[in-house]
């Protein structure tokens, strides 16, 4: 037997290596073996586990040609201060080769407060653009043709309102909803477990989400109605396998909610999309992307009986890991981001955001964002990484790790199923606790020196504070408040009151799809805070499970 001979050779190899390894005890503790062989893939069947690109179970990629026909979308997440400022940044990114937009909203917008709300003070325009009414959205997309660009919006609890505003801006541009391409994040479960911008309790939140699925399947068919996000779960501290597990468990919960609302799996599953983190360990990340595709395809086919191939394809956006950026020696972050982005490309991402070097300190400057965008272009055009589909497929190590991540994630999913699903697991605080334990273990590993972060716990140097950071000052908030007051003075306030009253009535009736009602509200220039205020009144607010 060839394997017997290989086993014997491996035993001798291990014995021979022992002496050399003893000199580097810190390297022996690594969680992966030092070499992988066919013995790690015993029983591995190529066609069952991998198949060709574009073929079930899509381990090698969701498209047959991948980057041989078209590169991933270079989609830089941006937005700050006011719609006026952010519009300038978007037009700059498009002029420099960005191929899709990605809108960052400020926290009041994400949590359903207008800029003049007491809860918004100090936060207006800080982490993204402030949007109060349709007027702001019109300015945000001024001179940007919504029939040509695809737009991703990081918006969750208030996603229905922002999607409605986007549709209404398109109407004004003469672009029908059926032509719109883009994504709303719309993933409330990870807000409860990891990201924190929830508003409403679980049940009405799930209703809003399924209302969007249903509305878009009929009216905005090219829109990705959700971006089920592992990114923030990883940022909160999870491991790679936990990122896959908790995210896919959330995905299962959304599918079950939509099925329960009477939809058919193949009517909506093809518009579900995902969002992953690209972390520091390059090959582990490549394995993670591959494992997630295979796992999702199998769940859709075997568990939910999907027939349409589109329903089984896990399409995803990737962002490099913000939490791995260091405030120390910030230029080193350019290198970290390049490696993380390379992992995303070797893992077959559909779109990519690369972080900027200065983001552990502030929002990025234009110069920093340009380097981050150029990093993607260098990977695409110069590195060769995009020339071959799934270039690491067949590597003993990457295949073994793909199997291991899929297996570990599946074990978590089984456990979550036994608890009653992701909603119950979050309400019990189980997922939050698992993430926190991993975050704490990471921090302790860094502090003990077991894990090295260059410039932080090794190779430190004296540094001067970085100058020229982007600042959003209080004037953005004042400008925004004035603009809102003007809209409120100029709009038809009787119409506003009428639409809000209709919304209140519709919200109280679970059988009504709220999307058309919200669309009427935004067309009448009802503000985001007014709309969410009505929904808060009817739905109440989520009470988080605080775990430590």
């Amino acid at each position: 037997m060839a394997n017997e001979s290989l086993k014997a050779k491996l035993e001798k190899y291990e014995a021979d290596c022992k002496k050399a390894e003893e000199k580097f005890p810190e390297r022996v503790g690594l969680k992966h073996k030092k070499v992988y062989t066919p013995l790690d893939l015993e029983g591995f069947d190529y066609e069952t586990e991998l198949g060709l690109p574009g073929e079930y179970p899509y381990t090698r990629g969701v498209q047959p040609t991948m980057y041989r026909s078209r590169f991933w979308t270079m989609r830089m997440y941006a937005g700050f201060a006011t719609a006026e400022e952010s519009n300038k940044r978007y037009r700059y990114l498009i002029a420099n080769g960005g191929t899709g937009l990605s809108v960052a909203f400020d926290l009041p917008t994400q949590i359903g407060y207008d800029s003049d709300d007491v809860m918004a003070q100090g936060e207006i325009g800080k982490v993204g653009v402030a949007i109060d009414t349709l007027k702001d959205m019109e300015i945000l997309f001024d001179q940007i043709d919504l029939s040509k660009v695809s737009t991703s919006m990081t918006i969750n609890a208030s996603a229905s309102v922002l999607l409605a505003m986007y549709i209404a801006v398109a109407e004004k541009q003469g672009v029908p909803a059926s032509a719109l391409r883009g994504t709303i994040q719309n993933d409330i479960l990870k807000e409860y477990s990891a990201r924190g911008t929830y508003i409403f309790p679980v049940k009405p939140s799930m209703r809003l989400i399924t209302n969007i699925f249903e509305y878009c399947s009929k009216n905005v068919p090219k829109w990705n109605t959700i971006s089920i996000s592992g990114y923030h779960i990883r940022e909160a501290g999870s491991t790679a396998a936990q990122e896959v597990a908790f995210t896919i468990a959330d995905g299962i919960a959304y599918i079950e909610a939509a099925l329960k609302a009477g939809m058919k799996i193949d009517d909506f599953a093809g518009r579900l999309s995902f969002f992953w983190n690209a972390h520091n360990n390059v090959l582990e990340e490549v394995a993670k992307f591959r494992a997630s595709r295979r796992l999702w395809a199998r769940i859709l086919k075997e568990r939910f009986g999907a027939q349409n191939a589109k329903s089984m394809k896990l399409r995803f956006h990737t962002q490099t890991a913000g939490s791995m950026l260091t405030a120390q020696q910030p230029n080193n972050n350019i290198v970290r981001v390049a490696l993380q982005a390379a992992a995303a490309v070797m893992g077959g991402t559909q779109s990519l955001h690369t972080n900027s070097r200065d983001e552990a300190l502030a929002l990025p400057t234009t110069e920093s964002v340009t380097i981050a965008l150029r990093t993607q272009q260098i990977i695409a055009y110069e590195s060769g990484l995009a020339d071959v589909v799934d270039p690491l497929g067949g590597s003993y190590y990457v295949e073994a790790m793909t199997n291991a991540i899929e297996k570990e994630a599946m074990e978590y999913i089984k456990k979550i199923d036994e608890m009653g699903g992701a909603v119950e697991a979050i309400e019990k605080g189980y997922i939050q606790k698992e993430i926190q334990d991993s975050a704490y273990a990471w921090q302790m590993a860094v502090e003990s020196g077991e894990k090295t972060i260059v410039g932080v716990n090794k190779f430190q140097q004296e540094e001067k504070p970085v100058e020229g950071l982007l600042r959003v000052d209080a004037s953005a908030g004042e400008f925004q408040k004035k603009k809102l007051a003007q809209v409120k003075a100029e709009r038809d306030n009787a119409k506003v009151a009428e639409e809000l009253a209709k919304l209140e009535k519709a919200a109280a009736d679970e059988s009504v799809n709220l999307m058309p009602v919200i669309l009427d509200c935004v067309r009448a220039y009802c503000s985001l805070g007014e709309i969410c205020g009505v929904l808060r009144k009817v739905f109440g607010e989520y009470k988080p499970h605080v775990t430590l």
């Binding site: 949590i111 809860m119 936060e123 501290g237 552990a360 502030a362 970085v466 988080p544 605080v546 430590l548």
Partner: protein
């Protein structure tokens, strides 16, 4: 009072949802023998001051990554003063540019810990200043 445990309120003011740092610090302080109360997300200044008062804490540790620190940190210090809690040690952490630190210190925040700070530094600072 060498045997009295130091009591710390770890608080998240404003709308920011990033609580990885706050929770890691809270746990590290607890492992270092302190009594730690964590407020959870989205606390108003009044809620934080109220909690600091009712829990009778020695330290209020604020965490914010949204950029609203220049507004909210000084408001917490002011709120504590108004309640007569002048001796409570207020510290902060998060994504805070170096240029903002002198202003925050002048407003009464005794120390700002930025990304990459070992939890041991925070523990040592609290022990030396309570």
């Amino acid at each position: 009072m060498a045997d009295k445990k130091i009591r710390v309120l770890v608080a998240k003011p404003g709308l920011d949802g990033h609580d990885r740092g706050a929770k890691v610090v809270a746990r590290a302080l607890r492992d270092a023998g302190m009594e730690v109360i964590y407020t959870g997300l989205r606390q108003t200044v009044d809620q934080i001051v109220e909690a600091a008062d009712s829990e009778d804490v020695d330290v209020v540790a604020l965490s914010l990554l949204s950029g609203a620190h220049n507004t909210l940190f000084p408001e917490v210090v002011e709120g504590l003063k108004k309640k007569g809690m002048n001796d409570v040690l207020v510290i902060g952490g998060g994504v805070i540019p170096a240029a903002d630190i002198p202003g925050l210190e002048a407003a009464g925040v005794k120390a700002i810990f930025t990304p990459g700070t070992p939890t041991k530094d925070i523990i040592d600072f609290i022990k030396a200043n309570v």
